[in-house]
Each structure stands twice: as C-alpha cells, then as structure tokens.
C-alpha cells in the first residue's frame, strides 16, 4: 500500500509543481496578488508530497519490502539498519527522489522564510523553482519510478553495493545534493532578476547566504567522497580526476567564484550581470554533474545508472534550463543597471581576478572531462585525459589565485595602491619568502618549495586580516581581545576559510612530495620498513560481520624501537553480491597517516601494501575548515539585517569588513 501512496504522491507533487511554475509567474506579470501568493502554498505542498514519497521509499527499505524493485535490487535483510536506510539513495531512482526532495525543500524555504522579499521577485523565484521541480518530478515519474513492483517478490534482496556500505559514503550523496541543488536558488534568483529587470543589494543579500550554504554542503560532500576514496578504494589516493569527481568539482569552482562576486554586488552594487551569469552557470554545471553521473555517459567507478533514455531526458532538462536561462540573459542582462566603476587595483579588482582564474580552472576541468568524448565523436582515435594533464594545467592556474588570495582582503574597495597593501602584508611576505628559501634548500624541489611557501602565505595572510581587525600591537591586549570577540561572522569566515585553504595546500604538497609506499609479501611476524616506520604483520585471522566474511590482519608499527600504532586491515567478502572489498588500516594524526592494506594470500603469505603519508589529514582538515568558514560567515548579522532592513528605516551601521 505504502509504495502506491508514494507513487501517487509523486504524481500529485508533479501536478503542483506544474501549477507552481506557471501561476506565480502570471501573477507577477498581471500584478495579481492572489496568484503570486499561491506560489507559497504550492511550494509547501510540493515539498509535503515529495517528502511523503521519500518517506514511503525509506519505509520500504527499512522493512525490506522486496516487492519493490529498487529495494530488492539494493537491499538485503542482513544489511545493518544504517545501510538499509542509506540504500534509499544508494540507487538511481532513490537518489533522484532525494534530489527532487531537496529541491522542493529549498523552494519551500523561499516560501516560508522569504516574507521580506519583494512580492513579485518571490513569485518569480518560486515559479522558476517550480519549473526545475516539475522537470525532475516528470523525470522520476516517467523514466525512474522508484515504486515499481516486482511480482512475485523475491524472498531475499540483492544487497546494496558493498563499496557503498560505509558510514562516510552513506551521507556523501545527501551532502553533495544539498550542494548541487542548493545552487538552484542562485539560478532561480538570477532568472527571476532577469525577468524582473532589476537587481539591488537586497537581491545579493538574499542570494549570497543561499549560495554560501550550498557551497558549504558541496565542500563537505566533496571532502567526504575524497576521504571515502582514500580509505575504501585501498590504494591511498585522495583525488583521481575521475569524471564524476570533476562533475562535483566544476560547480564548486564556479560556486566559489559566485560567492566572491555576490560580495561585490552586496557591497558595491557592481558586477551585477556577471553575478547573474555565474548563478546560471553554477547550477547548469550542477545539472551537468547530475547528467554525467545519472546517464552513465562516462562509465566510471561512480556511474551506476546506465540507461540511455534517462540520459536523454536529463540532457533535455540540462539544455532547456541552461540554454533558456542564457538566452534570457542575452536578452535582458544589457538592460540591468551597471554599477559604479573601480580601479584595477582594488578589492573589486582582486575579486574579479579570483573569478577569472576560477572560471579558467573550471574551464580546464571541463575540457579535461569532455575532450575524450569529443575526440571519440569527431575522430577515429580515442584519447585519455588523466591526472598528469591536470597536474600540468590546473596546478599552474592555481598559482595566481593563491597569490592574490592574501592580497585581496587587504585592498580597499574602489581604489587602492599595491605598496600600501604590501606594507600591511609585510609579515606574510617575510614568512612566505623565508619558507620558500628554507624549503628550496631542504627539499631540492622547487615545485614543492613553492607549494609550501604558498601554504604559509595563505595562513599568514589570513592571520594578517585578524591582526588588522583586532589592531594587534597597536592597542592594548585587552582592547584587542575585546575586538576579537566582537568580530562579525563574515570576517571570521574569511579568516578561517582562507587559512584552511592554506592548510589544504600544505597537505596536497606534502602528499605529492613526501608520500612513501612499499608493497611486499608478508607472512606472520615478517616486516617491511618505510621512512623509519617498521610495519610488522602480527597475524591474520578470519572474522565474520553481519553480511560479510573477512580476513583480518593485525599490524604493529614501530618507529625507532617505540610502538607507533596498531593497525587492522580487512579483506571482506560479501556473499550476496560476490564482491570483495578492502578495509584499509589507518592511524591518522594531523602530522602523519600510517596506512596499510591487506591484499590476496599466496602460499601462506599476503600481499601487503603500506604507506606513510605525511600531513595527509591536512587536506581534509583544510576542506572542512573552508566549509566551517562558510558556515560561520552565514551567522553574520548582516544577512539577517539585510532581510529586516526595510522594516527598520535606520541605516545599517557601516562596518569595516
């Protein structure tokens, strides 16, 4: 019964979404308050029905209702409850339903929390959200029905792909989708602004927090995926430049550009057109990401849906949304008021430079992802674009970005002088220069030395912002402490975000410069040594989990005769799917990861792969730090102030931020 109700809910939600995509828009055109206000109830109604359908699917998974096809194909009675639940979105149909639910959630958020938005703008935003919702609900209803029944129902399910049975991966898709879909807000606001024909700082005050929230979720989602790949795929890599990783990385890059650009609109009412374009592009890239993963056009580790009919449907949504919005942009954007000018050396100028580099970086990832397809289509050759390509193109692009990252926040709006900024950055310049010289001598590798110097530059540059804001050294300590406590969220956010980027860069450089590995056949009691760490295989035993059998190897790691870690690595066999996985044994502290993966057995000995990864954790600490910076920035009063400003005629206090 529940599955049928779920299916009906999807149809009802689709009907509401269709009305939502038309009624408020017409209302805004005719200045009809009733039609415009209808959008609110429709958005909330759409969310209720999609959420009900999603709940019905979760329920089917939790009670192992194998008469539902996706449950039978992706669950098993012995599977732990967490993975029964996560199985809801560990398949094509369920993950699209999650997508639609999150989309409806954002639409309803506008309806419920957008009380202070201009009525016509809100109506138009809701209509655009409704159009996206209608397209995806139609996609689910007509090509990917999650509630398809099986008759007769099998007595046991086929189990969720064991690789996905992992706490890290269980919540990777929801975060990624909160990010992807969150950017639909930037898209809807951009399209609504184009229809409306005007943009002001209130618009930016609305768009920026939503884009920032989406960006935080996407950052966390990408970091989780990377951590998962590191420990689950068993060969110690953390980023593969796989097309599906690229698919999430492109919206992240353009979304990062959008955040910074929206800052300019909010503070200076300029670069409006460009911000709108970024809003459209960010979500278009999210749709491209969805297309890549869902269509299976680039079969990879991640692409587990391989139905061309679905691919064509998503392609149609993608082209409709992005081409439609871009055409509207070409038509309407020139009519938008251009803001005040600024000098090349200014806060705005630095943010534009940030945007140019981030867009070039996103373009590079795009080229690398799609070029093999292009060559395949136009020629008779096949090429591959792998990590070496990105190392030679993407990495150099990051150099100017990272350099300007510490300079930008020190520049004044509108017009500034570089020497003045250099004076404020004296300490970071000295520290980074020192690090460059020391590291070049010690490492004998110019590239690694430059990388480490950049990391120092970013962290020191972020701390310089802090020092400037709390007037460290210029006033008494107590006064500085008081200033520090009253720093606005946005300032804390930029300090934490930029410093975290430095931490992340340090981790990346350390991983590429100092990671060491070895692979040996080991029997019990035998050992291998990597950079001073001695890994001894203590013993191998058999173990049983709820739905798998495992060989479990225990390792003792010693350094300089003193114990450093006990590691346990498993080779698991999941009989329901006949799949083997590796669970790497990892001891992680901020400064070094000790990593060991058990391989297959031969003549009583095992293939053992061991790694020593200095500073590896910095990569993810940095990524999560960036997300935390974004989250802190979201707490800034100004965002709420912006929404309230029209009730309170007093001007907002000018802030030095």
């Amino acid at each position: 019964m529940a599955p049928e109700l779920g299916q009906m809910s999807i149809m009802l939600a689709l009907a509401l979404a269709v009305v939502q995509s038309i009624a408020p828009l017409v209302g805004a055109m005719r200045r009809d308050l009733v039609l415009m206000r209808l959008g609110d109830s429709l958005a909330v109604g759409q969310l209720s029905f999609v959420a009900f359908a999603f709940g019905a699917l979760c329920y089917a998974f939790l009670i192992s209702d194998f008469s539902v096809r996706v449950v039978a194909e992706n669950s098993h009675t012995l599977q732990p409850a967490l993975y029964k639940f996560a199985g809801t979105w560990g398949n094509h149909e369920g993950s699209m339903l999650l997508w639609a639910m999150i989309l409806a959630l954002f639409g309803a958020a506008v309806a419920l929390f957008g009380k202070d938005l201009p009525t016509t703008l809100k109506a138009r935003v809701l209509s655009v959200q409704g159009m996206i919702g209608a397209a995806f609900l139609a996609f689910i209803a007509f090509t990917s029905n999650p509630f398809d029944r099986l008759a007769p129902a099998p007595s046991e399910g086929a189990e969720l792909n064991p690789l996905l049975q992992d706490p890290g991966l269980a919540f990777h898709p929801p975060f990624l989708y909160l990010g992807y879909v969150g950017f639909s807000m930037a898209f809807s606001f951009s399209v609504a602004a184009l229809i409306e024909g005007r943009v002001d700082s209130a618009w930016a005050r609305w768009v920026r927090p939503w884009a920032l929230a989406a960006w935080c979720f996407l950052t966390i989602g990408i970091a989780m995926g990377s951590i998962w790949a590191y420990y689950e795929l068993g060969w110690g890599g953390w980023w593969y430049w796989d097309p599906v990783e690229n698919a999430s990385f492109m919206p992240w890059l353009v979304g990062t550009a959008l955040l910074h650009c929206a800052l300019v609109v909010e503070r200076r009412q300029t670069l409006v057109n460009w911000t709108i374009l970024l809003g459209i592009l960010t979500f278009s890239l999210s749709l491209i990401g969805t297309f890549l993963v869902r269509s299976g056009v680039l079969t990879s580790v991640h692409a587990f849906a391989l139905d061309p009919a679905r691919g064509v449907f998503i392609l149609a949504i993608l082209l409709g949304a992005s081409m439609g919005a871009l055409a509207l942009y070409a038509w309407r954007a020139p009519a938008l008021a251009a803001g005040p000018t600024f000098a090349p050396v200014s806060r705005e100028g630095a943010l534009v430079l940030n945007n140019i580099v981030l867009m070039a970086a996103a373009g590079t990832v795009f080229l690398g992802t799609f070029y093999p397809l292009l060559i395949d289509v136009i020629g008779d050759d096949k090429i591959s674009v792998g990590p070496p390509y990105f190392q030679s193109t993407f990495a150099p692009l990051m150099l100017p970005l990272l350099l300007v990252m510490s300079v930008g926040p020190m520049l004044k709006w509108r017009k500034d002088q570089l020497p003045a900024a250099a004076r404020k950055l004296r300490t970071p310049i000295i520290l980074a220069g020192g690090a460059l010289i020391l590291a070049s001598v010690a490492l004998k590798s110019v590239l690694s030395a430059v990388g480490l110097a950049l990391a120092v530059w970013l962290v020191a540059g972020a701390l310089a912002i802090l020092a400037q804001r709390i007037r460290a050294g210029a006033v008494a300590f107590g006064e500085s402490a008081r200033l520090a406590l009253s720093l606005p969220g946005a300032t804390l956010g930029i300090i934490l975000g930029h410093a975290s980027m430095g931490v992340c860069v340090a981790g990346i450089v350390a991983m590429s410069a100092w990671a060491k590995e070895d692979v040996q056949m080991l029997g019990p009691g035998e050992k291998l040594e990597i950079s001073g760490y001695v890994f001894t295989l203590e013993d191998v035993s058999l173990a049983a989990g709820p739905n798998y059998e495992a060989e479990r190897a225990t390792f003792r790691v010693m350094r300089g005769g003193r114990p450093a870690a006990e590691l346990v690595s498993e080779r698991r066999y999941y009989p329901a799917r006949g799949v083997e996985t590796t669970e790497a044994g990892i001891r992680s502290n901020p400064f070094v990861n000790l990593y060991v993966a058990l391989g297959e057995a031969r003549d009583g000995r095992h293939v053992v792969r061991a790694y020593v990864h200095p500073l590896a954790a910095f990569i993810w600490i940095g990524a999560l730090g960036m997300a935390a910076g974004g989250a802190i920035s979201l707490t800034d009063r100004r965002f709420r102030l912006g929404a309230r400003i029209r009730l309170d005629p007093a001007p907002s206090p000018a802030r030095a931020a």
């Binding site: 209130a202 796989d242 009412q269 090349p344 140019i356 590079t364 020629g379 792998g386």
Partner: protein
C-alpha cells in the same frame, strides 16, 4: 549492448577488487629503475578499466602492462621509448597525459586561452565609460519602494 555489459563487468573487476597494484614479484631489483617504472606506470592507463592507471589497477591486463614497462626499462629503453612501445600496441588511449597534436591543441592551450580571454574581458570592462556613482545606486529608492509595499500590505490587511 553486449559490449557495454562486458565493459561494466571488467570495470567492476578493476574497481571493486581489493587494490594491489604492483605485486612484489613484479618489482625490479634496482631501486632507481623501479622508481622510474613506478612513475611511468602512473602515466599509463589500464585499457580495460575506467580511469585507472596501471599502477592502481588490479586487472590482469594491467599487471601484464606493468611487466611490459619493467621489461622495456630493464632492456635499457628510455621513458619515451617505453611509451611509444605501449602506444604502438594499445593506441593513444593508454596515455593518461594525452599527446599534443592538431586535435588536442585546444585541450592543451585552452586553459591559457581562458585566462587570456578573461583578462581581456576585464580590461575591456575597465575601459567602459564611467557612470556617476549617484546614478548607479538604486538602493535607496528600492528600499523606499519596498517600505511602501509593506505599508500597503499592512494597510490592506
């Protein structure tokens, strides 16, 4: 359809097996040569896998290719010669660093072009005629308008 099904099977064999990559018995005795072989095999793609280098892959074919790389290196081939040998056998597809030629020109120079185009666009933008700041700040009137709307709404309720 059959080909795709095959590809999926093979891909899952690559990706989902426990990763072993270089097996101990494949390694070259000379550490310098082994380091070269390792660096080289990270630039060679496993032909039956999705986006994995032969160093990462667990497929039997990748193991064969790793052995070929080491054989060629042991026989005194330079890195380029080893790559050429593999390309002659398996095609350009095996190179994770795509070759530079007429049809990959845009792939290699695209990033620099994007950067130049961005800089040129910015330069053009900076040279646009200045708009007096007084004209370009619609904020105040917008606020007034919204306050008016607010008052109307309250008045109407």
């Amino acid at each position: 359809m059959k080909r795709r099904a095959f590809a999926i099977c093979v891909a899952s064999a690559c990706a989902f097996g426990p990763a072993l990559a270089v097996n101990p018995d494949e390694k070259l005795a000379d550490p310098t040569l082994e380091a070269r072989a390792l660096a080289l095999s990270r630039e060679i793609r496993c032909v039956v896998c999705q986006n994995q280098s032969i160093d990462d892959s667990n497929a039997p074919l990748a193991a064969d290719m790793r052995v070929i790389v080491r054989e060629r290196i042991a026989a005194g081939d330079g890195d380029a010669e080893v790559k050429n040998f593999l390309v002659s056998r398996y095609g350009n597809f095996v190179l994770l660093r795509p070759p530079m030629r007429a049809d990959t020109w845009f792939l290699w120079f695209g990033p620099a072009l994007f950067l130049i185009a961005g800089a040129a666009g910015f330069a053009a933008y900076l040279r646009r005629p200045a708009i007096p700041a007084s004209q370009a700040v619609p904020e105040l009137s917008a606020d007034e308008r919204r306050r008016l709307e607010e008052l109307e709404r309250r008045g109407g309720a």
